[in-house]
């Protein structure tokens, strides 16, 4: 007989040594169940969070643009193995600089299970532009509102509940440097992946005629590549004349992703049915 009632962790749990669900795995990624991408504006503490989660010592520095390639590491949380990918910091995903392309390609083509967008609590407005652009590409987004300690020192009060409500995805206050809020963040990530919470990402619609154009193009893309996950975003990019997306369409890169994703889905349901029989 098991007691099914679970006790929710409180704030104090995080500092309690008995509450260690997080195990750092460094670069021994090997087998993993889920892929998490770390995106965010430059110098918001992505690398600090990456190091806190993986136990790696990626060089962090207080200047924008430090991470120019993506770094990977692993950690285990609640019996699940995660691969974490630290993307270069970018202000947007629209232009064509190399670091923006790395970040965008990974979120779009790497199909992470969830994307954490690290934001700077002291400069939220500018950071939200990127959050909204990421949400255009993928629904599985958790916003980490980092540098809460700095915000406090500057006399800023950030209401993450209001933020969550407006954005339609979880927004979790953290201080990556001290590790505060990291467990809550990972809990939210797991919830988003497992579908325990409803996410309804805010999307910018543009003018009515633009919306009409998008809605005409989306069915065509879906018909061409059935099962494609980001048809709306692709439609917007195609309307914008994005050369990178146009190429991905013509050279079959998009079709590859779809078929790869479907293979993974089939494997997953097979695995589930095997485990279910036991």
């Amino acid at each position: 007989m098991t007691n099914t009632k679970t006790v929710l962790p409180t704030e104090h749990c995080e500092t309690c040594p008995a509450f260690t669900q997080l195990e750092q795995m460094g670069i021994k990624v090997g087998d993993f169940d889920r892929v998490i991408a770390l995106a965010g504006n430059p110098n918001t503490g992505k690398s600090t969070l990456f190091n806190a989660l993986t136990g790696l010592k990626q060089h962090t520095g207080n200047w924008p643009g430090k991470t120019v390639t993506r770094a990977e590491g692993g950690f285990e949380f609640n019996k699940m193995r995660y691969k974490l990918v630290d993307l270069p910091g970018t202000y947007s995903l629209l232009s064509a600089s190399q670091d923006e392309e790395v970040a965008r390609d990974f979120i779009l083509f790497g199909q992470p299970s969830c994307t954490i967008v690290v934001t700077d609590a002291t400069a939220l407005e500018r950071n939200l532009n990127l959050v909204m652009q990421v949400m255009e590409i993928t629904e599985h987004v958790v916003v980490a509102v980092n540098l809460m300690d700095e915000a406090q020192r500057k006399g800023l009060e950030v209401d993450t509940r209001s933020l969550s409500r407006d954005l339609g995805v979880p927004a979790i206050p953290i201080t990556a440097r001290t590790g505060e809020g990291i467990h809550t963040l990972l809990g939210a990530v797991a919830d988003v992946i497992e579908g325990n919470i409803t996410i309804k990402p805010l999307r910018v619609n543009g003018t009515p005629e633009f919306q009409k154009a998008v809605s005409e193009l989306v069915p065509m893309i879906e018909q061409m590549a059935p099962g494609i996950p980001n048809a709306r975003w692709l439609a917007i990019r195609l309307l914008d004349g994005d050369a990178r997306v146009q190429n991905a369409l013509t050279n079959g890169e998009l079709a590859d992703i779809v078929s790869r994703q479907q293979r993974v889905d089939v494997q997953f349901s097979k695995k589930m049915s095997v485990e279910g029989r036991q």
Binding site: K57, P88, K154
Partner: protein
Amino acid sequence: MSTELQPKDVLAKAEALRNSLSSGFRDEIVKSLYSEAESIAKRAVKTADNKRYDFDQKIDRLVTSPITGLPIMLLLLTIIIWLTVTGANVASNAIAVVLFAVGDFGRNLFTQIGAPWWLTGFIWDGVYLGLAWVISVMLPPMMIFFPAFTFLEDLGYLPRVAFNLDWMFKKTGAHGKQSLTMAMGFGCNAAGVIATRVIDSPRERLIAILTNNFVPCNGRFPTLIMLATVFVAAAFPPALTSFVAAGTVVGVVLIGVGFTFLASWILSRTVLKGEASAFTLELPPYRRPNVSRILYTSIIDRTIFVLWRAMQTAAPAGAIIWIMANVPIGDTNLARAVADWLNPLGLLLGLDGVILLAYIIAIPANEIVVPTMMMVYMGAGMMVNGPSSNEAIFDLLVNGNGWTMLTAINLMLFALLHNPCATTIMTIYKETKSLKWATLSVVMTLGTAFLVTFLTASVARLLGWV
């Protein structure tokens, strides 16, 4: 069944739809993105009074002001280099004494157990001496310079440097972020070349890559520090020595920055024509540096990494020199013969043949130029121990090998301007994926080094200084 839809159909449809839209639709989307972000942020963030923020801004006004910004930068650079020069001098001598004592012990041990002379020589006068030199010359300055540099980086000062230098880079037609990649170059030019990925425009990125080598990397700092201390500062009263040495190194660094501007200017008007692009640079808040992280980054990631790389090239270089010094040719040896052959060119540049030979052997890593040079000067067997004090080095170079102040100054200039090390050249090739640009990076720097040293030597001779 509907017919299969082809990508080109979708593209055509997208094109048609795009043309049907009014021209401002992109701006419209961006505008609504921004206004949405603004209203969300407004709802979520409450501002109280912020004293600390005001303090940050006060500092920034001083540090990035057009009047005080540059002097503060120079002052900080001078302080870092002065700390490095003063501290490294003491430690270098101490380490040299210990390491050369170990060398003596090993040599005696080998002689006692009856090892053949060539084995003793190869191991202790070749490989070991090369390693001992590299460690005693390089380790102390790195142990001081890297933590100090990392401290400023962690504090958030580097973007302020970029801010101060932005207008100068823009004038030369280069990107303002080049000052960031230039600052990284002080640590390691290969790292600086990789860091240029933060520059969006390919043209400006190439300029940053090609000119990165004009700032001395950490492998070259010890050479500059040693020459500044032993030669330039020796001409002043002892009380001023460390200040003169630091000032000299700062001067050399400034010459390097000057050449960065000059080369950027020339490149952006010839092979890499174009306008400088605008960019936004965020000045991050000052953060209290994390001491343990500074030590970890500067000692493990930087010092040990760079030293290990230097040792890997120093060991074979030591072996090569020992062999060259022990292959007899007539009544001289191979090392001397090659150095003699290079001597006319060396003298033309205000250097000598041994220095050029050392540079050729040190192509894999600039760090080992001075050790290599010393070993050739000392020759095999003649003087088994390295000179462990500045006076002894001065004596060996001036009285033993005819150095003058011109040799020292030109060697500093040559160290500053000559071709990138093999690692950096490889990195440039990887980053640009072009043999042409990698070659240009070598030709341009080496050409500059030859030209400048030739000019200073000629002027000095014409004026009768040497």
